[in-house]
Amino acid sequence: MASETVSKKPSFLAALNYLSLALMLAATWMVFFYAPREAVMGEVQRVFYFHVSAGWVGMVAFIAAAVAGIIYLVRPDKKWDVFSVAAVEIGLVYSLVNIVTGSIWARPTWNTWWTWDPRLVTASVMELTFLAYLLLRQSIEDPERRARFGAIYSILGSLTVPLTYMSIRIWRTIHPVVIGSGDPGAKGNFAMTQPMVFTLLFSLLAFTVFGVTLLWHRVRLGWLTERVEQLRLKVMGM
């Protein structure tokens, strides 16, 4: 049964809406006006802040989905399934933003929208894995089995997350590693100055808060869908 808290929007969530908006606006302002212009790459480097932040939220969301999946298998409770699928959807959107912003940056820096670099490959594999997750869910009628299979596939799929994260650190790649040290052959590497670090940290914060807000809304939506389905069946007398 959906709990009563579902029907009313919690005031904390309402507050989060405004906080996210404020943080995102502030982060955007910082990216364009506070962070200095990078000497070699120029304005396009500014995409870096959102690129990294989106990638971060995407990966965390996928991991969260897998953790919810583990909890579901141990203790089958609908709410973990609802959370898991919400996290996957959020993760997919953020990872897509990550890939698109990366592409925009790659065009002037690497001279191509796309290249088959280990990082780009692993990131797209991660995206495809979780698209397959949605397809899997879609093709199973029984909600309990759907939840169980979803949980297992999200756990299997989450293996692509560390692989994506580590890809620029273990393989030879042209993708820069700004945090930590990367391949000397990477193209587009740069050293961050103090304001750049601040801007990055702030956009990480903004994206995370925004991500949590979206996740919360999506979880609530999942609950409401559940509720509607139950009421529908009640009315139909099943």
Partner: protein, 237 residues
């Protein structure tokens, strides 16, 4: 030997079984009557450990489900709708394979014995694919009995059988019951239920609607009770 308390099963948002209290002693033959879609198969699948109840308790052959399902399996023989056989394998290969899974001692002798019992011995080498419905059903019954289960759960065991096979099956079931085997079988054939079972449960829309008959013989007017119970169930739902 079989007992359930408040057994309920939900598929998705729909309850297919609701508060089923059922009880069968050792050596008892119990019939489970009900129209198609009443939940008979679901109930048997739960008792056979293939499915887990959403709510409620159930004990079978001295084990509680679903916690001790793995241990209970060795004592249960379950005949499903489908024969649960490999169509490309021969009758003999199918039984030999299951004999290996059930770790039966002297498997070859046991397989031959059952093939003879169900009159399949002459065609033991032929693939199940070319068997008629009745032959598949007989082979499926042989598979169920392979490991001498203490509890038999049979989902419409009579379907597809010809007269001779029906008689063989019924006398076999009576003999097994005398030896202490608990038998619960689902059917929608009222007469079959009456002639074979000492106790009858009626399931409609997932609920047991006719009270169990206790130890008494089923009265001749049972069909009236049955149809009234069904009507009541349909009205109540």
């Amino acid at each position: 030997m079989i007992s359930t308390q408040g057994l309920s099963k939900r598929f998705g948002y729909r309850w297919v079984l609701k508060d089923v209290d059922l009880d069968a002693q050792a050596g008892e033959i119990v019939a489970l009557l009900g129209p198609n879609g009443a939940g008979k198969s679901t109930l048997l699948r739960i008792l056979a450990t293939l499915s887990k109840p959403t709510l409620g308790e159930c004990q079978i052959a001295g084990f509680s489900l679903p916690q001790q399902a793995a241990a209970a399996r060795a004592r249960i023989g379950f005949l499903a709708h489908q024969p649960l056989l490999y169509e490309d394998l021969s009758a003999e290969q199918n039984l030999a394979f299951y004999a290996r899974l059930y770790r039966i001692k002297r498997p070859a002798a046991r397989v031959t014995e059952l093939l003879r019992l169900f009159d399949l011995h002459l065609r033991r080498q032929e693939p199940v694919r070319i068997f008629s419905r009745g032959m598949q059903q007989r082979l499926a019954l042989a598979r169920v009995l392979l490991h001498n289960p203490r509890v038999l759960l049979l989902d419409e065991p009579h379907s597809g059988l010809d007269r001779a096979a029906l008689d063989v099956l019924d006398s076999l079931l009576r003999k097994l019951a005398k030896k202490g085997t608990t038998i619960l079988f689902a059917t929608h054939d009222l007469h079959r239920a009456q002639s074979l079972a000492r106790k009858v449960y009626v399931l409609a829309e997932g609920r047991l609607v006719a009270p169990s008959d206790g130890r008494r013989r089923i009265p001749g007017s049972f069909s009236g009770v049955y149809s009234r119970a069904l009507r009541a169930a349909q009205k109540g739902a």
